[in-house]
């Protein structure tokens, strides 16, 4: 049989973003010796344009929405939403990286190539409709992320971070793979739609079997989204990794992992949702509570944001617990809002941290409001959004999530979640307090002026945060339309 029976143009169009990213990543590697000496900024610029091309390709793929490669991939609104999200996250990661890498004397092409590979993996995860493809996407994304976490190889903490991330990450992936194997054994398929059909069908496999498989996948994915009780790695990795990479890890892989989470649990395992709902309920509760209370005690900003990101994963899990299309849409919206505010906050940290990332403490932000009012104002917007003050994306995200939860009668989870967000206000306020109400510190006095790349890296997410807060309909309508997954 000719190959064209298996692969046709439509499939290739639907797979175009991944193709572009993989090719451009390789091209960057090849160009390294050519460009290294002349202009080190070129790598960043090439990758930004590759990502823009991938963005256009995602939109084009959406024009031709449908399954690809015999149902291995599904390009639908949901997939497109997350593809665009991780690509935008990639762009917002590269913008502050220019100056950061120059300051650490670490401008190479592989940083950008790895970033593109990782994003390609995440795009694949977003569109995957088969457990094996999910696994491949997860691995492409994760392996690149492991290397990125240890990118500053002379930095001890970065090495620790990379090793920890790699070991625990592989462990988690293994859990996930076990789950996949069990499902294949039980249902004879790895396609999510067929798995769903098999569990609900007339000769359904033993519910225990399926339940164990779902639980194993929950462990694997729970690790990737840093949900409690699988969150132990996050603070160390976030603290040790280079700051732009931390920003990336907290937004990109997390969003993609949640995409997979939602797709698997809301399609294949939806029929047994009464079984997994209590697990997710407990995990959401633990993530919010542990994340927020541990963050109260942190003095290192990256660590603080790491715990905060655990708490935010908990909020998204609340949306998953709601087990409804509204909940799925709320999770999608929240992840978009979270990506903007968190990446923006990390961009400020990377701006201020100085050579060798010396300034990472809360106290180092002292007086930033006087020394660099624009930077401080942007950080203030991100922090207010993380607190959940109205007119920011973070507020609407929380609002939609808890609205979905209440619609599903999760009253206690909502009340605990909202009280948690009041606790969280305290540690975000600490940063605001030192920034505006203390006298300038050494770090604020030594802060470099904003470069164009960095200004863009601050202003774009700030605009995004405010737009999501004032005109949420633009994103929410799309999320709402896409939340009905292919079943």
């Amino acid at each position: 049989m000719p190959v064209s029976n298996y692969v046709n143009t439509g499939d290739m169009i639907r797979f175009l973003p991944e193709i572009i990213l993989a090719i451009m990543g390789t091209v960057l590697m090849v160009l390294d010796p050519v460009l290294q000496k002349r202009s080190s900024n070129a790598f960043g610029t090439i990758s930004v344009f590759s990502l823009l091309a991938a963005l256009a390709a995602s939109a084009y793929a959406y024009q031709n929405a449908g399954p690809a490669f015999g149902g291995m991939l599904t390009v639908d609104g949901f997939a497109t939403f997350f593809r665009i999200l991780v690509i935008v996250v990639g762009i917002l990661t590269i913008l502050p990286s220019y100056r950061f890498l120059a300051r650490q004397d670490a401008e190479t092409s592989e940083y950008h190539a790895l970033l593109l590979y990782s994003i390609a993996g995440q795009c694949l995860m977003a569109a995957a409709n088969e457990l094996i493809i999910v696994f491949i996407g997860l691995e492409i994304s994760s392996i690149a992320s492991y290397v990125l976490a240890g990118y500053l190889r002379d930095d001890k903490r970065a090495n620790e971070a990379a090793l920890k991330y790699f070991l625990l990450g592989s462990f988690a992936t293994a859990f996930f793979l076990y789950g996949v194997a069990l499902i294949y054994g039980a249902t004879g398929s790895v396609n999510l739609t067929m798995v769903r059909a098999a569990i609900t069908g007339s000769n359904a496999p033993s519910p225990v079997f399926v339940g164990v498989a779902a639980a194993l996948m929950f462990v694997g994915l729970g690790f990737k989204v840093s949900a409690s009780p699988f969150q132990i790695w996050a603070p160390d990795v976030y603290q040790g990794a280079p700051t732009p990479v931390t920003a990336f890890l907290s937004a990109g892989p997390k969003a993609a992992a949640f995409a997979v989470f939602l797709r698997i649990f809301m399609t294949a395992f939806e029929p047994i949702s009464n079984g997994w709902e209590p697990l997710v309920w407990i995990s959401a509760l633990l993530s919010m509570t542990i994340g927020n209370f541990a963050a109260l005690l942190q003095s290192n900003v990256k660590r603080l944001l790491a715990y905060s990101s655990i708490a935010h994963a908990g909020y998204v899990l609340v949306a998953l617990t709601a087990r409804s299309d509204v909940g799925t849409a709320a999770a999608m919206f929240y992840l978009a809002a979270y990506a903007f505010m968190n990446i923006g906050a990390f961009a400020v940290v990377s701006h201020l941290s100085g050579k060798g990332e010396r300034y990472q403490n809360v106290d180092d932000f002292a007086g930033l409001g006087q020394k660099q009012p624009v930077t401080a104002a942007m950080l203030a917007i991100f922090l207010l959004s993380l607190i959940g003050v109205p007119l920011t994306g973070g507020f609407f995200g929380k609002f939609y999530i808890f609205k979905a939860a209440l619609e599903s009668h999760l009253v206690w989870l909502t009340v605990i979640g909202l009280l948690n967000s009041a606790v969280a206000a305290y540690y975000y306020l600490r940063i605001l307090v030192v920034m505006y109400m203390h006298e300038p510190s050494e770090a604020a006095n030594n802060a470099e002026p904003l470069t164009p790349g960095l200004s863009a890296a601050l202003i774009l997410p700030a605009l995004g945060t405010l737009l999501l807060g004032i005109f949420p309909s633009w994103v929410l309508d799309f999320a709402g339309k896409s939340s009905t997954l292919v079943k």
Binding site: K403, T414, A425, L429, L476, G480
Partner: protein, 509 residues
Amino acid sequence: MNLLTVVLFLPLAGFLIALMIPRSSGGGSRAWALVLSLVTFIVSLALPVMFDRGFTGEQFALDVPWIASPDIHFYIAMDGVSLWLVLLSTFLTPICVLISWRYIQHRAKEFYAFLLLLEFGLIGVFIAQDLFLFYVFWEVSLVPMYFLVGIWGHERRIYAAVKFFLFTMAGSVLMLAAIIYLYNRAGTFSYPAIVTMLSSGRLTFAGNEQMLLFLAFFIAFAIKVPLFPLHTWLPDAHVEAPSAGSVMLASVMLKMGTYGILHFCLPMFPSASRTCAPWIAILSIIGIIYGALVSMVQPNMKKLVAYSSVSHLGFVVLGIFSFTQLGLDGAVYQMLNHGISTGALFALVGLLYERKHSLAIGDYGGVAAAAPWLSTAFLITTLASIGLPLLNNFVGEFLVLQGVALSNYTWAIYAAIGVILSACYMLWLYQRVFYGEASEDVRSHVPDLNLREWAAVVPLIVMMIWMGVYSQSFLPPVSKATARVLDQAQINVPFRVQIDRNAEVARAR
């Protein structure tokens, strides 16, 4: 364009422009803030003129869809209560600019920008008719106040600012949960629509459900009022805030709580309000007496005024939970009175602090000799605050006490003790600060009012006298609105007999 929209968005536009005024312009931002807040005030004066006093419903309504799903509207309108509260906000903002004119030198640009943003948030709270929009304004007004206290306050400002933020936040997240719950039940955020559904019986709550919703709203409001025992943030925030912050906090922000109770809790959750009324009344009475007693022993002037606010606001809450027309009218009038007279007290204490850099009562004495006009202004304010007839507080306190006496005589007796105590602590304060031998220090450091300070103080005193002498300029729209609150809630059922008497009293009046 709708007049109310103009009044709402002028301060926001002013805030955005104030951010763009270059730091190097010196006094540019404060001049801008003064001009803009005066313009806002003048425009807002058209509101009572155009307000149709014969018409009971919401006026100046503007209802624009904001977010499609869930159905959120930018829905603003005002009734007779919000009319005066909006005017109170626009009236006090220029005064705040004037009293900060010299005191705020450090980072003045941000200060005035935040002051305008605060005005925007406060006006919004009083006119939002969409519950979601109400919550948005409720939180938005929190942020500038947090910065005003935290950046320009006194020594313990950071502690006070964080405490203020966290207290309010903790209360308001529960309110958010209740708002979402209401939406899921009613299918709309529109407050008038929900009230209509409730009164027509298309939407009913089980007893328990209603109680939890009521508490979620009420606790958020009670923290803001603040009702004893949730008041502990208030002395800190008031004492540490710069005087403009104290004025806005005491005069307008606390009214967000009482307005919320009146506007949302009573009409939406009538039977829960009724069930809780005795408990709330007891807490209010404790607040009235406790606030007054603590005021009496304060060595710090600002703290004294702050605790007196706890006492005065207790009257307002007590008046609301008397469920009588007189009590509600009195409560609303007392909200306005407290805004004027306590605002004036904080402004005058701020002027003293600006002169001598001390808030301790013991550091003063004999100011009357050094600054006779300042002393006179303070005396009038003091007398207003203790409820001397022909000054504003007398009218409010009288109505509240009368209304409360109609529903429960014992409560009225206890509440009246608060009036007596207020005379004690205020007159004693006046005696210690203004009478006696003026020390050399006071003589040299406390000059009399200058022209700018006159401009800030005189309007307040004029209002005290006007509101005390001719309350008919203000009360009729208030009565219409409160009558509707009582009616909407059908809350007066158990008090049927007394209500008829109220109506007679009202007619006679």
